[in-house]
């Protein structure tokens, strides 16, 4: 089946067509021609009216409820939400019951998503049952298809275990992803330490609980001499430590869920658990600092950190509520809202090229003879995220009812054109 996208503006600095408005002809999933006023041939013609196109987007941190909590999200609804949000690939965190600490779980994900246009990659658990006690069978997971290892949102308390994981993964060159947080300083608290926590009568997690733990993990990485990726670093000072190590040549990098750019702990004054995330939303000052660090490149990767939770775990008392928010469909809207669209190609790099480079995946190219894996979007389109548009099986999004400027229009991937319903 052939398809011709007319009038699209290429936003992909790596492509020779960057900045030009052209037509893209796709034949059997391969870009067969790029240029102005291409002939229709026998193709289905879709006029994009000057919308943008880039390499397909990649979300490096998503969670599904399957296996175990299919009522929160199954792999099908996850794929549907991701495609709707403009993604052509995701990295699935190992959360699940059972978690992805054995090859059967990787195979399940593969089997359940092989026919979806979305490429779903599995991250394996770093430790057995993600308990942080002993290594999982990482090599076997790697053979089954895990492309990274992590205990997801659970910080690895045991420094020795983190070191062993990094050393062990060296032989098969798979990255380790971690969340750094001092467990004792964070214990018993679920919000940022600051004036807002005082007002809420709640104990807070100080930002330096991240700083000292990032410091520890940087030293472990330096000792092991292997790369380490830090997820959701919400303390600007911790981001700076990682940036300094990176400047000295360490193979370390940072990713951040975009809700940390959108919200600060001021949102907590109604005890709405849709703002309960881990690490916690930081102060307004720190939020601004994080935005600046994304713009300046100290934070290299943006994610949705999509974490579906059902009502029974979310619409309850704040301290009892589960952490996390959904975000696949609102990701691009939040990106445009918080970072603006002036430097779009640099922003796009954080969810097209950067995560794939980290994970050793090929970056889709906009060139003749390349396999077509494209995301179409309009950074100017205004739209509202509503409950009806939500494709996730969970509704724990603080963005329901929010108006955004910047909208994914659809993706072409794995020989299929999927129009976004947003």
């Amino acid at each position: 089946m052939n398809i011709l996208f007319r009038n699209v503006r290429v936003v992909q600095p790596e492509s020779a067509w960057h900045g030009q408005t052209i037509d893209i002809f796709i034949q059997d999933g391969i870009i067969s021609a790029i240029g102005k006023a291409l002939p229709d041939g026998d193709a289905e013609v879709i006029d994009m009216n000057g919308a943008c196109v880039s390499a397909g987007w990649f979300d490096m941190s998503v969670r599904s409820g399957e296996p175990g909590f299919e009522y929160k999200e199954d792999l099908q609804s996850l794929c549907s939400a991701a495609l709707d949000g403009g993604f052509t690939g995701v990295l699935l965190m190992p959360d699940g019951a059972p978690c992805t600490d054995h090859k059967g779980a990787v195979e399940l994900v593969y089997r359940r998503t092989m026919h979806s246009p979305l490429r779903v990659h599995s991250a394996g658990a770093l430790s057995r049952e993600m308990k942080g006690e002993e290594l999982s069978e990482m090599y076997d997971l790697h053979l089954a298809g895990s492309i990274a290892f992590t205990d997801s949102a659970r910080p690895v308390k045991n420094a020795k275990l983190l070191l062993l994981a990094m050393q062990y993964a060296q032989s098969f060159r798979r990255p380790i992803l971690c969340i750094s947080m001092d467990a004792y300083l964070a214990k018993g608290a679920s919000v940022n330490e600051g004036p807002e926590a005082v007002n809420l009568g709640m104990k807070g997690i100080p930002a330096f609980a991240e700083d000292i733990s990032v410091n520890r993990d940087l030293q472990i990485a330096a000792y092991a001499g292997t790369p380490l990726h830090f997820m959701n670093v919400t303390s600007p000072a911790a981001v700076d430590q990682i940036a300094a190590a990176r400047e000295k040549g360490a193979g370390v990098s940072v990713s951040l869920g975009v809700h940390y750019l959108a919200f600060s702990d001021q949102k907590l004054n109604t005890f709405d658990s849709n703002y309960k995330v881990f690490p916690p939303l930081r102060s307004e000052d720190m939020r601004r600092e994080l935005v600046r660090r994304v713009k300046e490149g100290q934070i290299q990767i943006l994610t949705s950190d999509h974490t579906p939770e059902d009502r029974e775990h979310k619409i309850i008392e704040f301290e009892k509520a589960a952490y996390g928010i959904t975000g696949l469909q609102t990701f691009f809207g939040v990106v445009c809202q918080t970072l603006g669209t002036e430097n779009l190609e640099k922003t796009l790099h954080t969810f097209t090229v950067a995560p794939r480079q980290l994970l050793g995946l090929e970056v889709p190219r906009i060139e003749v003879d390349a396999e077509a894996e494209l995301t179409f979007f309009d950074p100017e389109a205004v739209w509202t995220f509503t409950r009806e548009k939500n494709r996730s099986r969970s509704e724990n999004s603080p963005f329901i009812g929010t108006e955004f400027k910047g909208k994914p229009l659809g993706v072409y991937t794995r020989r299929q054109w999927v129009r976004s319903g947003l």
């Binding site: 004036p195 005082v198 807070g204 109604t270």
Partner: protein, 315 residues
């Protein structure tokens, strides 16, 4: 009678200075009522109040129940142990079920901060429950508004005013809901508030509320007109915040010797129950310095005022 600006009493931070004055003035009339030979008035006849307690309480619950009965309300009591909560029912479901039995007001004590705010917001979503009034009888380490009101009422009765007084709150500020509500309430009424206790029990950033912190008990007591001594909340501590009760008493316990060293007489308050010999010595609690039992008496009048004023707020 002037009206409250709010439908619920979720915390002192959510009400105005005027609301506080209205409640204290109303409490003064009810205090007169409960000292009559016949203590009961028909003000809340045909109003049903549920006391929903997810956490143990003796005096607050008793005080509310007496307040409700003296206003002629119908009262039902619910406690978490042995209820459907242990079967996994959510808070919203539990309260909606109670309200479905035609209950008008919910007085709730809960172990989680913000539980009452959450509940009030949730009930708005259910047409059959939207009429209900919620009174916070203590939510975790967040607020305990009726305690702050009765403390303010007791201070006003004792001194004839609140504005300009120096009020010290001593002890476990971090694990106390009384402290936060008291700070909001006293500040709205124009008192100066200072906190004193071991640094491990003073929340960081507390000074953003406009209070001062003094770690030296003698200096703090010397400054104040009233010292509100808080109970050490061992049950809410996830780690030991000080080495032992003995050592706490050595540094922050208030006893005769400590008071004798002051060059003035101060008034002692305590929200109860007292750990005698820890934060406060028994003979001080029972002495002429203490207005602790007045606080308890005033608690009933203040809670009558809260229930009465909220019941008369129009939807």
């Amino acid at each position: 009678m002037s009206r409250l600006s709010t439908e619920h009493l979720l915390g002192i931070k959510y009400i105005t200075e005027n609301d506080i004055h209205t409640l204290l003035d109303t409490a003064a009339s009810f205090k007169e009522v409960i000292n009559r030979p016949i203590k009961k008035v028909p003000s809340l006849r045909d109003v049903t109040v549920a006391n929903v307690f997810f956490e143990n309480s003796t005096r607050t619950r008793l005080s509310f129940e007496l307040a409700e009965k003296r206003l002629s309300a119908d009262v039902v009591n619910f406690s978490a142990s042995g209820s459907s909560v242990s079967k996994g029912e959510t808070l919203t479901d539990t309260v909606n079920n109670i309200l479905a039995m035609k209950v008008d007001m919910v007085v709730m004590r809960h172990q989680n901060p913000g539980a009452c705010v959450f509940l009030a917001n949730e009930l708005k979503k259910y047409p059959k429950s939207a009429h209900a009034r919620v009174v916070n009888a203590g939510d975790g380490t967040h607020e305990h508004p009726t305690q702050a009101l009765l403390d303010a009422f007791s201070i006003r009765n004792h001194f004839g005013r609140i504005e300009g007084l120096n009020v010290l709150i001593v002890g476990d500020i971090m694990h106390s809901r009384v402290a936060l509500s008291n700070i909001y309430c006293l500040q709205k009424l124009g008192a100066n508030v200072k906190l004193c206790g071991p640094a491990t029990l003073i929340p960081r950033h507390i000074e953003t509320l406009g209070v001062e912190v003094e770690y030296d008990l003698h200096k703090a007591l010397q400054w104040c007109d009233v010292a509100n001594v808080l109970r050490i909340q061992l049950e809410r501590q996830d780690i030991k915040y000080f080495p032992s009760l003995r050592e706490y008493a050595m540094q922050y316990g208030i006893n005769r010797e400590v008071l004798n060293r002051l060059d003035k007489q101060i008034t002692i308050m305590h929200p109860g129950p007292i750990n005698r010999g820890v934060e406060l010595d028994g003979d001080i609690a029972d002495s002429e310095h203490s207005i602790i039992l007045e606080q308890v008496e005033n608690g009933v009048a203040v809670r009558m005022a809260v229930l009465y004023c909220l019941a008369s707020v129009k939807e």
